[in-house]
């Protein structure tokens, strides 16, 4: 039996799609929200380090599963290999209602004004597709605010002199500093830097009907035991459902968007939780599957008008895949610097996001989340024994006497860093899988070394007896901060969507996730993805004409 036609189908219940589902259903549209994963539950994996979002050695706590999903990764030498979701090269985010917002560390950054006009600020380096966004920070500011208040952010931007202008403060105060924060703060000040508490999508006081954080040891990588972490799964998606206009269908994997002869998206073909093929027709289709899966879905949506995939007339879909290089430094101390107070990360500085001599951009630096015991076994100074009595002794002595400062480097987009669909390999449902290839721009490594040296400088000033840096290589970026594959832009020849996230040439097909990001900021991108969800929804709702969507 054919499914009932709806006004909008949203693919992906993560940071972007959850917001879109809520906004459209509150505006009175009938909405189906398709999610390939399920509702997650803290009790499924509780505080199990080996099945968490950070350490997936015994499986992915929040999906997808290794049995039905796979990707192909192309190495620099051209050889290919199949990777499973629990393996590093997969560049997984998550597959559950709320997606990464269930288990994230929840840093709630607004990008800075300059992050939206990187090309104008710095000029494009050779080998990059660096460009300005077609929107400014000021266009998005009201939508950042909406995300902060509707989903919930704790922080105090008045303590960050580099923060972009805002109309309203964040709704909740920040957590007080942990022992690490109290150590870093005066050291950074002595160096003339400007540390402040990290803004977080985490309740520090009761908010939105949920309690305050109890400051446990386990945060990033885990669902919150007391529901104090603010994701789309416990804020906007329940609100969407409460309107009575939104149906969340879990366990549903989208195969393609069907585009007709008039270049309109008609429906989404998907497989439901029982592997049955379904066609959901809709007036508007919004894709929020993440930079890898949204690109895959568009590339798999082939029609007579778009033989290489919907929106891919100029071969830009899947291009410019970015994430973040994460350079940083470690310091060992004589005294204990660990107080077992979560989430661990508490203090940051934006002194190095811009204005670094000879560099294009930079990034935020922050102390790291609590590293759990297994993860800590690989955190060693170069040349240290990786096993045996000395390794164990190091673990015992320094687990509570070490700290790390690191941060995300704003990467230079590379056209060849890309998502394609593999010509041969298919998933459990017979859908061609993601094929990843390319590498980081060499400038990212220069910026990374610079950022690592600054992190090390702070640790030394804080009294570390021994320090060392860690700088990532040039491997393809993506991971949980994946972005950029359906770039928004004013010129259809060098972008995939217009400034409202609408696919060029297809009036009723939208993207609302990190794929839109022209550049990815020197920050964790989730609040920007949420803001884009509101931004795209606002346009759809404004342009909505009864039962039809017209541009």
């Amino acid at each position: 039996m054919a499914l009932k036609h709806v006004n909008a189908v949203v693919v992906g219940a993560g940071a972007g799609g959850g917001v879109v589902a809520k906004e459209l259903s509150e505006a009175g549209l009938s909405v189906v929200l398709l999610e390939r994963g399920r509702w997650s539950n803290f009790d499924d994996h509780d505080h199990d380090e080996l099945i968490s979002q950070r350490t997936t050695v015994l499986g992915n706590a929040f999906g997808p599963d290794d049995e039905r999903h796979r990707r192909v990764v192309v190495s620099v030498d051209g050889s290919t290999r199949i990777v499973l979701p629990s393996e590093g090269g997969y560049n997984n985010n998550a597959a559950c209602v709320g997606s990464g917002t269930v288990s994230y560390g929840a840093m709630a950054w607004r990008f800075m004004e300059k992050d939206f006009r990187m090309r104008s600020e710095y000029a494009c380096p050779e080998g990059s597709t660096l460009d300005d966004w077609p929107v400014t920070y000021h266009d998005l500011e009201p939508f950042y605010e909406k995300a902060e208040w509707e989903i919930g952010v704790s922080g105090d931007d008045s303590r960050n002199p580099f923060a972009p202008p805002r109309r309203r403060p964040q709704p909740m105060p920040p957590h007080p500093y942990t022992l690490e924060g109290r150590l870093i703060e005066p050291a950074a000040r002595r160096l003339g830097l400007h540390p402040f508490p990290i803004p977080m999508l985490r309740n520090t006081v009761p908010y939105g009907g949920r309690p305050a954080c109890i400051r446990c040891r386990y945060c990033v990588g885990f669902a919150c035991e007391v529901n104090a972490k603010c994701g789309t799964h416990n804020t906007v998606i329940p609100r969407a459902i409460a309107t009575g206009n939104c149906e969340v269908r879990t366990g549903c994997i989208a195969a393609e968007v069907l585009v007709d002869e008039k270049a309109r998206a008609r429906s989404v073909r998907y497989f439901d939780a029982g592997d049955r093929e379904q066609i959901q027709t809709a007036d508007v289709v919004v894709l929020s599957g993440s930079a890898t899966e949204t690109a895959r879905l568009l590339l798999n949506s082939r029609s007579r008008l778009f033989p290489t995939g919907a929106g891919n007339r100029n071969d830009w879909v899947g291009r410019n895949l970015q994430g973040h290089a994460y350079p940083g430094a470690w310091g060992l101390f004589e005294q204990e610097v660990y107080d077992d107070v979560g989430p661990g990360a508490c203090i940051a500085l934006c002194d190095f996001n811009h204005g670094n001599p000879g560099l294009r951009g930079g990034g935020m630096l922050a102390n790291e989340f609590i590293r759990l015991p297994y993860l800590f076994t690989s955190q060693r100074p170069p040349g240290s024994p990786s096993w045996g009595p000395a390794h164990k002794q190091f673990q015992r002595k320094y687990y509570r006497r070490s700290l790390s400062i690191k941060g995300p480097v704003q990467e230079m987009p590379v056209f060849e860093a890309r998502v394609e669909v593999d010509p041969a390999v298919k998933d459990h449902w017979g859908i061609p899988v993601v094929r990843l290839s390319g590498h980081r721009h060499e400038e990212d490594l220069v910026t990374s070394r610079f950022m690592a040296s600054k992190a090390e400088m702070i640790l030394k000033e804080a009294g570390a007896a021994q320090t060392w840096t860690s700088v990532p290589g040039s491997v393809l970026s993506g991971g949980q901060h994946q972005a950029g594959t359906c770039r928004m832009g004013n010129d259809p020849k060098s972008s995939v969507t217009n400034k409202h996230g609408r696919i060029h040439d297809i009036d009723n097909l939208f993207v609302a996730d990190g794929s839109l990001n022209v550049t990815n900021g020197g920050f964790n991108p989730v609040l920007t993805i949420m803001a884009l969800g509101y931004w795209v929804s606002n346009y759809i709702n404004t342009e909505w004409k009864g039962t039809m969507f017209r541009s």
Binding site: H47, D48, E49, L50, V57, L58, G59, I214, R215, C216, R217, Y218, Q335, E336, D339, D340, V341, P373, Y374, F376, T377, S386, W387, G388, P389, H391, K392, Q393, Q395, R396, Y399, R400
Partner: protein, 188 residues
């Protein structure tokens, strides 16, 4: 209608034979403690794990149940590593015999360390290492040992939370006033 209905007498005979058959292994040896490893392999695995995380003032890998953790995972999430372990453990014995003329679990501590160093540096002798890298195998068992020792106790390792206690981490974590008092009383 059942055409080949089993006559009662024949069924009883069969059941008796089956019953004996199922008892037979138990007659030969004690019911195995191990799911994947043979007893001989388990002895080698245990010795390797203990080298990786030796007992000192705190428990080592064996008393933390790490070999049990690895054995358990090899029939679950680590099924894909079964072949690597079977070949690798045979390789450890080959290398051990080539270097010291005896099985790994019988060597003294320092000789065991030497064997593992040979594996780690990919300079180990043995036919097994023609089909797979000794270094890769060593890194695999090292990672698994770390996981079993430092990971969550629910998977069969980290028995009695030994590694958490070694690091001064209460488990389950106690949240509240008592925690702050305790952390204040810890000597820096």
């Amino acid at each position: 209608m059942l055409k080949k209905k089993l006559p009662r007498r024949q069924f009883l005979k069969g059941a008796a034979v089956a019953g004996c058959a199922s008892l037979l292994p138990a007659c030969g040896k004690l019911p195995g403690r191990w799911r994947f490893f043979t007893e001989a392999e388990a002895a080698v695995v245990s010795a390797v794990c203990e080298q990786i995380i030796p007992a000192d003032q705190d428990a080592g890998a064996i008393s933390a149940g790490v070999p049990n953790f690895i054995d358990k995972q090899l029939t679950g999430p680590y099924k894909r590593h079964q072949g690597v372990y079977r070949t690798g453990l045979a390789g450890v014995q080959e290398t051990s015999r080539a270097m010291f003329g005896s099985g790994f679990e019988t060597l003294n501590w320092d000789n065991q360390t030497s064997v593992l160093r040979a594996l780690e540096s990919d300079k180990a002798e043995g036919q097994a290492w023609e089909s797979q890298s000794s270094r890769a195998f060593f890194q695999l068992i090292r990672d698994h040992t770390m996981q079993g020792f430092y990971g969550s106790p629910r998977h069969g390792g980290n028995r009695d939370y030994v590694s958490y206690r070694m690091l001064g981490l209460d488990y389950p974590q106690v949240i509240g006033q008592n925690r702050y008092k305790k952390s204040q009383s810890r000597k820096a």
